[in-house]
């Protein structure tokens, strides 16, 4: 929403500067994106270099067929020689001139130049060059009134400031200059002008044939008819305002509808009445297979979900979105039907979305426009039709369903203060609400103005109205607490431990997308209409994403790659997937690299784990283990260059030891020994260890430190060397006792695995 300050100040009297207005609106009303300086810069006397000029002589440039050589009186002793590229004027024309040194709206500084051998000391300006419109086909020819040398600013609105606002969807009333003026008046206490617009004299009282078939989608249709309309271009002030407001001037009639919409919010549309079959307006749903060519030249296929404005035969506009080409106002138009209607937001939104069409009008209707404003907009537009196009108002019809009533809400002023945490005096609350045009009764029954009726329906909504005007006065406090204690839940603490252990091991934490191109799980949840094929499936495993992240780092030449991620996975389970938190890791190096990381993580939580041979589609079948918590293994060769290993554990499943008790490991030192067993190749070290522990409770540690294969153990066998510790919690073991325990292990492993003690 763009609000030219010159327009705004027409509706509200305030001494506040543009910057002050912007700053306060930003706090109390809506976001202010920026302040735009529109038109000619008003500093360093720049405006004084723009003058009214009269062309005293004009002819072809002697050295250039496409240029005119002019002598222009700009109120100086001698006329100036100016070279001009336009031909839409001649001797005697009154024009806008910029003198050398002037800075044009685009920032360009005008210099005295020589063009094809002729000097040019100034520039005759087009309206586009002055940002007064979009016409650049010729220069701007002025009315003959003003004397040469008159400052141009006295004749044209050369310079303005524009507020660019970002309003919230609950405040369609702010999509109007008058609505912003109402806020400014409330904020600064300035006087708000009456709603602009005065009806012209009504020449006749002809009926206008308006029928509404769908009062839900169109609760009101006010049609006015005009004759003797003379279509022309709009005067400079109107073009300047529309241009500053971000709209393109088209013709006096169309500009008048846009001006009234921008002033008062309610969109309007003008039809060439002679193009309407039987001069009739029917507001109805489109029929199957109906189509319409809209103003933008496109042929649009309609459905019965679309609301249209039709004449006696066919659609002439898509209601609230865009008019039709056939009934468009053209230069030949003399009879106009002005539509000032009201449309329900949801239907407009759906049609606009389905048709892929958005317009200034649909953007407003979608937010829900006050149906009572239609008549105000019609009044202002009618006044402009009469003033700008000499139109005669000859008929009116106002068809309406039941229009919403104004809510009345009981406000408790004490609750306002309580909710804001700021004592706001009752008088002040009343003043604020009344300045926003709420009617406040003596009993604090507050009646909401029509343009806020959708948004303000409860007392808390009124509290917000008061609060937004006092936001900067609200102090900074903290809740006065009754109870509650801040602490992480055990699983949240554990997660941090895992993160810290892995970063301590040199792993980098990564974040990879939880939506992936594909997933090994056949029933993984798919997004029916993904945004991109890369992000189409909710993953059930982190490993493929980690491999991708590792590959990316390899590709860019990084070294020492060790990555981990903690994230949700989504396991198919009916409608809602089961979400689990997983930790996954990938590291350059063979199986023991990843397994070492897993062991360290588990050790941090004193978590027991056993490892069994496992299989996984991404992992080496001989170098993969499953644990009760997940998987660890070496990646299949070829997935990434070199040897890589990876793991993925279910964080929620980890059984952390909590509150374990002290064990005396100091008073009675252990007996340490090295033992080596020769076993068949398929026997796992873990199996030997588990069996030994089961046999001898005093066995505290049994850690493999070497594996040997070769002549001394023979084919098909291997030797595993262990570091063994025996310890009793009650006394120091004698050498003899230790030897006995050792023998028990030797016997047990021999019996179970055919293990032979070596050396």
């Amino acid at each position: 929403m763009r609000v030219p300050l010159s327009w705004l100040r027409e509706y509200v009297a305030t001494d506040a500067t543009t910057e002050e207005i912007a700053a306060r609106l930003a706090i109390s009303t809506c976001e202010v994106e920026r302040i735009i300086r529109q038109g000619v810069a008003d500093d360093d006397g720049n405006l004084g270099l723009f003058r009214v000029g009269r062309v005293v002589e004009a002819g072809k440039h002697p050295n250039a067929d496409r240029l005119q050589l002019c002598r222009v009186d700009v109120g100086e002793r001698e006329p100036r020689q100016i070279v001009c590229g336009a031909w839409n004027f001649g001797e005697g024309a009154t024009v806008a001139v910029a003198l050398p040194g002037a800075v044009l709206p685009g920032g360009q500084r005008l210099e005295e130049v020589t063009l094809r051998g002729e000097s040019s000391s100034g520039m005759i300006l087009s309206e586009q060059e002055l940002e007064l419109g979009t016409d650049h086909t010729g220069i701007l020819v002025l009315d003959d009134g003003p004397e040469p040398g008159t400052p141009l600013i006295d004749v044209l609105p050369l310079s303005d400031e524009v507020l660019e606002l970002e309003t919230t969807p609950n405040r369609p009333d702010l999509l109007s200059v008058y609505g912003i003026a109402r806020e400014v008046a409330a904020i600064f206490g300035g006087e708000l002008a009456p709603i602009p617009g005065t009806d012209p004299e009504r020449a006749r009282d002809e009926p206008v044939d308006v029928r509404i078939e769908d009062l839900e989608r169109c609760p009101r249709y006010l049609g006015r008819t005009f004759t003797e309309v003379r279509i022309s271009s709009s005067p400079p002030w109107l073009k300047a305002r529309l241009t500053a407001a971000g709209m393109r001037p088209i013709s006096n009639v169309v500009d008048a509808t846009n001006y009234a919409m921008h002033a008062l919010c309610s969109p309007l549309h003008a039809f060439d009445r002679t193009k309407l079959a039987e001069g009739r307006i029917v507001v109805r749903r489109a029929k199957p297979n109906e189509e319409i060519r809209t103003l933008d030249g496109s042929l649009r296929a309609l459905t019965p979900d679309d609301l249209v404005i039709a004449d006696a035969e066919r659609p002439v506009a898509i209601a609230g979105i865009m008019g039709g080409e056939e009934s468009e106002v053209t230069e030949e138009t003399t009879d106009v039907l002005l539509e000032a209607a009201n449309f329900e937001p949801v239907g407009i939104q759906k049609s606009s979305e389905r048709l892929g069409m958005r317009s200034d009008a649909s953007n407003r209707w979608e937010k829900g426009i006050d149906p009572y404003v239609a008549e105000d907009a019609a009044r202002l537009c009618s006044q402009l039709f009469a003033e700008l196009a000499g139109a005669r108002w000859v008929g009116e019809s106002d068809v309406r369903g039941e229009l919403p009533t104004r809510p009345t809400i009981k406000l408790r002023p004490a609750r306002t203060s309580a909710l804001l945490g700021l004592e706001v005096a009752e008088d002040e609350q009343r003043r604020i609400l009344e300045s926003l045009r709420f009617e406040v009764g003596g009993d604090w029954n507050v009646t909401v103005p029509t343009w806020r009726a959708r948004d303000v329906t409860r007392d808390v909504d009124l509290v917000e109205e008061v609060g937004r005007m006092k936001l900067e006065d609200v102090p900074f406090t903290l809740p006065a607490r009754r109870e509650m204690f801040g602490r992480l839940a055990p699983e949240q603490r554990h997660r941090r431990v895992v993160e810290d252990v892995l970063t301590g091991l040199g792993f980098y934490e990564v974040y990879t997308p939880s939506l992936v191109a594909d997933d090994p799980h056949p029933n993984a949840h798919r997004i029916p209409q993904p945004q991109s094929l890369d992000q189409a499936v909710l993953r059930t495993t982190l490993l493929p994403s980690l491999i991708e992240a590792a590959r990316h780092n390899l590709d860019v030449g990084n070294e020492g790659i060790a990555l981990f991620e903690i994230a949700h996975v989504y396991l198919p389970n009916g409608e809602l997937p089961t979400e689990r938190i997983r930790v996954g890791g990938i590291v350059e190096g063979p199986y023991p690299r990843a397994k070492g990381a897993v062991e360290t993580v588990l050790a941090a939580g004193q978590i027991e784990a056993s490892y069994e041979r496992g299989d996984h589609e991404l992992m080496h079948p001989g170098k993969t283990a499953t644990t009760p918590y997940g998987i660890v293994g070496e990646l299949l060769p070829g997935i990434l260059e070199g040897a890589w290993s990876a793991f993925e554990l279910d964080l929620d499943a980890l059984e952390w030891s909590e509150g374990w008790t002290y064990e005396d490991v100091i008073s009675y030192p252990p007996v340490k020994q090295d033992l080596a067993f020769a076993v068949p190749e398929e026997v796992l070290a873990g199996e030997l260890i588990e069996a030994a522990h089961q046999t001898v409770p005093e066995l505290r540690e049994m850690t493999p430190f070497d594996v040997y294969r070769g002549e001394q153990v023979g084919p098909g066998r291997k030797s595993i060397a262990f570091r063994v510790e025996f310890r009793s919690p009650e006394r120091t073991l004698t050498d003899g006792e230790a030897a006995g325990l050792r023998q028990s292990i030797v016997d047990a492993l021999k019996a179970k695995f055919g293990a032979e003690l070596r050396a």
Binding site: E499, Q535, H568
Partner: protein
């Protein structure tokens, strides 16, 4: 033997030694088994001579010990001087990993709120529209409900567009008071660009208690913003609109780059928009069965990526998902 002359000769000899070998020679010569002193001691007959000889022996032993200490110290000094290394050469490489920037911010935010006595609540990412939209007072035609903005899995199963459903679950499960934050992934159909990615992280905060005020919300958010962006920062709050809060506000922090003067980061305004907040809408309380006449509350939901990008001057949000070690190791 003249004990005194012997003593003086020995002490002079000891003093004259310049290394451990010479010292050993002196020891053998003056105190060894064949030394004049030892021989004299063996032959001593009277007590007086014995005492004199023993005194000389003790003096020589002390001198030898003292000289030995001196020589060792000298030797050590020499060795230390010779063993100098280039102390600017790098130390042995130690593995050092890094937490992702988002995790670091997540922890900071968690710790700020833990310090104020809040709990951290986990939430699911796949939700039903009941918890994502209905409970949050989103009207049926609210644009966020459109499949153009939200990922639908099927029917009314959606990927959460904000962390707010965690609030609703918490309120459904227990009675006030509630002081909670919830942090996690959210999803929106945004086309990736420097400030958007379809997956992002939010921190959601909710307080419900007796007499919670807008002032409490301002104070809490100011504490959060100053903790994250610097104690000297100023904050500003502007009116806004969200279906689930009333009144609603948007929080701004004074630009930490230009300190409010206007620069590229704050788009010349001096203020940086951080995110939305407000007093919990009575309709949300109605949904979970709380009485809005008895309790009030506030809520906010802010993007973690945005905080990270702003605070560290990172120009492109997509870099956070590329996981290049060269970027990760900067944090």
């Amino acid at each position: 033997l003249d004990a005194e002359a012997y003593r003086q000769e020995a002490l002079a000899a000891v003093e004259a030694t310049s290394n451990a070998g010479e010292l050993d020679e002196a020891r053998v010569r003056y105190l060894g088994r064949k030394s004049e002193l030892k021989q004299a001691l063996r032959e001593v007959r009277d007590r007086e001579t014995g005492m004199a000889l023993n005194a000389a022996r003790e003096a020589i032993e002390q001198a030898l010990a003292a000289r030995q200490t001196d020589l060792e110290r000298t030797e050590l000094d020499r060795a230390l001087t010779e063993e100098t290394v280039d102390i600017t050469l790098p130390g042995d490489a130690q593995p050092r990993g890094h937490l992702h920037l988002i995790t670091q911010i997540r922890r900071e935010v968690e710790d700020i709120f833990l310090g104020m006595g809040y709990e951290v609540v986990e939430g699911r990412e796949v939700e039903t529209s009941r918890y994502l939209f209905d409970a949050l007072n989103m009207p049926p035609n609210h644009p966020t409900r459109s499949p153009l903005h939200t990922f639908y899995l099927n029917g009314d199963v959606v990927l959460r567009t904000e962390t707010s459903p965690a609030q609703v679950h918490t309120m459904e499960e227990r009675e006030p008071p509630i002081y909670m934050v919830s942090l996690g992934r959210c999803y929106r159909r945004d086309t990736p660009d420097p400030t958007h990615y379809p997956i992002f992280h939010q921190v959601e905060g909710l307080v419900v208690d007796d007499n919670i005020t807008l002032a409490d919300l301002k104070g809490t958010l100011q504490h959060l913003l100053r903790s994250l962006f610097g104690e000297e920062r100023e904050t500003r709050f502007a009116t806004h609109y969200f279906p689930f809060t009333e009144p609603s506000i948007e929080a701004y922090v004074s630009c930490f780059l230009c300190d409010g003067a206007g620069c590229r980061v704050c788009k010349q305004s001096g203020w940086i928009e951080i995110g939305g907040a407000g007093m919990v809408d009575p309709n949300v309380f109605d949904f979970v069965g709380y009485d809005p006449e008895k309790v009030t509350g506030f809520a906010f939901g802010w993007g973690l990526e945005r905080m990270g990008l702003l605070r560290h001057g990172l120009p492109d949000i997509r870099a956070l998902w590329e996981n290049d070690l060269r970027l990760l190791e900067q944090f």
